[in-house]
């Protein structure tokens, strides 16, 4: 029992070190490469543009349901006037960064992990190496940098769409005065709330896309299974770990920021 705990703790620490070296090494390698702008654009397309729809849809429904639930709770205390504040602060501080990150992991992270796993399996990673192209700089770094660009943007879009969703359910479907709702939104949110949300989204972006690329890139080493099943296992692991780490690091950042 103790041995198992000790072994997994040591394993986790060495994994963490390897992960840090991997992501930093990728970024260093990237700046030695050519056609950086094009590669970054491809990454932004994969992680940003292709996640726009899902992030907006999930954002809208999150806002709608938040508006409903909070309205019925607040109305019991006669303070439905603070609905705008409650919705916008919940979203900007917590739900926006977390849910947007989880959606991006589902849409782009899983695709990245399996794509890299297949490329490893098909010797495409080795092929880059024999061509004198650092595979990490070519395959991993553009995605990591694109994540740092796209996560705050998608989070902002999620927040705005969801705040609009809260307006729809609070003021259009129910009978809260729209002016009261929007006053709550505009007057209660501070720059520090918005900044906290952006810090979270940057950390989530680096962690999740980092883990997904890391797992995919080393699919041959990280999985005991070979071939197609190895790729599917490493993809599953990548998505599970990314999601867990989003929630765990969210708690840590929140306690540091407050």
């Amino acid at each position: 029992m103790l041995r198992t705990v000790g072994r997994s703790a040591l394993g986790a620490i060495s994994e963490l070190g390897e992960f840090s070296l991997f992501s930093l090494g990728s970024l260093v390698a990237f700046f030695r490469q050519r056609r950086r702008f094009h590669k970054l654009a491809v990454g932004v397309h994969e992680i940003g543009a292709r996640c726009l729809a899902i992030v907006s849809i999930v954002g809208l429904f999150t806002g709608l349901v938040l508006g409903l639930q909070l309205y019925y709770t607040l109305v019991k205390f006669g303070s439905e006037g603070v609905l705008g504040m409650a919705v916008s602060l919940t979203l900007i501080r917590e739900l926006g960064p977390v849910l947007a990150a989880l959606m991006i992991v589902g849409q782009a992270g899983s695709a990245l992990a399996s794509e890299l796993g297949i490329q490893r399996n098909d010797e495409q990673v080795d092929a880059l190496y024999t061509m004198g192209i650092d595979p990490r700089g070519f395959l991993v770094a553009p995605r990591l940098l694109a994540a740092l660009v796209c996560f705050p943007m998608l989070t902002a879009i999620f927040d705005l769409v969801a705040i609009f969703g809260g307006y729809l359910s609070g003021s259009v479907l129910l009978n809260l005065d729209p002016g009261v709702y929007w006053k709550g939104v505009f007057q209660s949110v501070e720059w520090s709330d918005v900044r906290g949300g952006f810090i979270k989204s940057l950390v989530f972006g680096f962690l999740t896309i980092g883990i997904c690329t890391y797992r995919g890139f080393y699919a041959h080493r990280k999985s005991k299974l070979r071939g197609v099943r190895g790729v599917s296992e490493s993809t599953t692991r990548a998505v599970v770990w990314s999601s867990v780490l989003v929630l765990a690091s969210d708690y840590m950042i929140t306690s540091l920021l407050l």
């Binding site: 050519r34 004198g132 070519f138 041959h220």
Partner: protein, 257 residues
């Protein structure tokens, strides 16, 4: 013509307790086509990957043109113009045929995009792929994919080309087509080639030297005629088996075949 271009001394590699390479000694001469033959799972591909620096050897020394080549995982292309044609082609699915072949040139940054376009279109044209520049690997037939991979290996004007079973999965006619291409372009560009192949005796036609790898060592090295006229009983047994029983190959992860 026959100075030792690549010298391999006592190269070792094991996976767990399985000693795949147990002290390989081999000299490749400049400009010659050398073919490694042997049973499946005897480490022929592993040997090729050690040469390319993809797999790190456990011991031994590799010298390219007299200079030692460290097996530290640094990018080998800085040292020698070599290219590697993979068993499964390893083409990038998200790039079309033109982009796949142009990739090593564009990333090296030594050529203008106009030069790259001319060179790639010329080479693909010679390989009867002029109509397929814009097509993606998934839309090409197996033989066409091989030719794209062949073009990608040659487009950088390599001094050394490593071919890992270049004819896997092709019908006999296309097999000869690929062997003819290797012979033809060797004449044209004068590269040194190292092949791993199961196609005995077809591959002997283009091989200047044949090495027989068995039990982790090179057990025979010489010309194809010497191999075929040899009297070693194991060699005769191997040749007979290769000719008359279609070998089976197992696809493995990470290319440990």
């Amino acid at each position: 013509m026959s100075e030792a271009f690549i010298e391999v001394r006592d190269l070792k590699k094991h996976f767990g307790v399985n000693k795949v390479l147990d002290g390989i000694d081999l000299d490749l001469s400049r400009g010659l086509v050398t073919t490694i033959v042997g049973k499946s799972g005897m480490g022929k591909s592993v040997f090729l990957k050690c040469l390319a620096g993809i797999v790190e050897a456990d011991g031994g020394e590799i010298r390219y043109a007299g200079k030692p080549f460290t097996l530290s995982g640094s990018l080998p292309n800085n040292r020698l113009r070599f290219s590697y044609m993979f068993q499964n082609n390893a083409l990038f699915d998200s790039l079309n045929a033109f982009e796949n072949v142009a990739l090593p040139l564009l990333e090296s940054g030594e050529h203008s995009s106009g030069e790259v376009r001319d060179k790639v279109e010329d080479l693909l044209g010679q390989l009867d792929l002029a109509d397929s520049l814009e097509r993606y690997p998934g839309e090409l037939s197996g033989g066409m994919q091989k030719r794209v991979a062949f073009a990608r290996a040659l487009v950088t004007d390599p001094e050394l080309v490593l071919f890992d079973e270049p004819t896997t999965g092709l019908d006999p006619e296309r097999k000869f087509g690929i062997f003819d291409l290797i012979a033809e372009y060797r004449e044209k560009y004068g590269f040194t080639a190292l092949l791993v192949s199961h196609d005995i005796p077809e591959v002997f036609q283009i091989s200047d030297r044949v090495a027989w790898l068995d039990g982790g060592r090179i057990r025979f090295f010489g010309t194809a005629e010497e191999l075929e006229s040899g009297r070693q009983p194991e060699v005769i047994e191997f040749l007979n088996k290769s000719r008359y029983s279609p070998h089976r190959k197992v696809q493995t992860f990470g290319g440990k075949s």
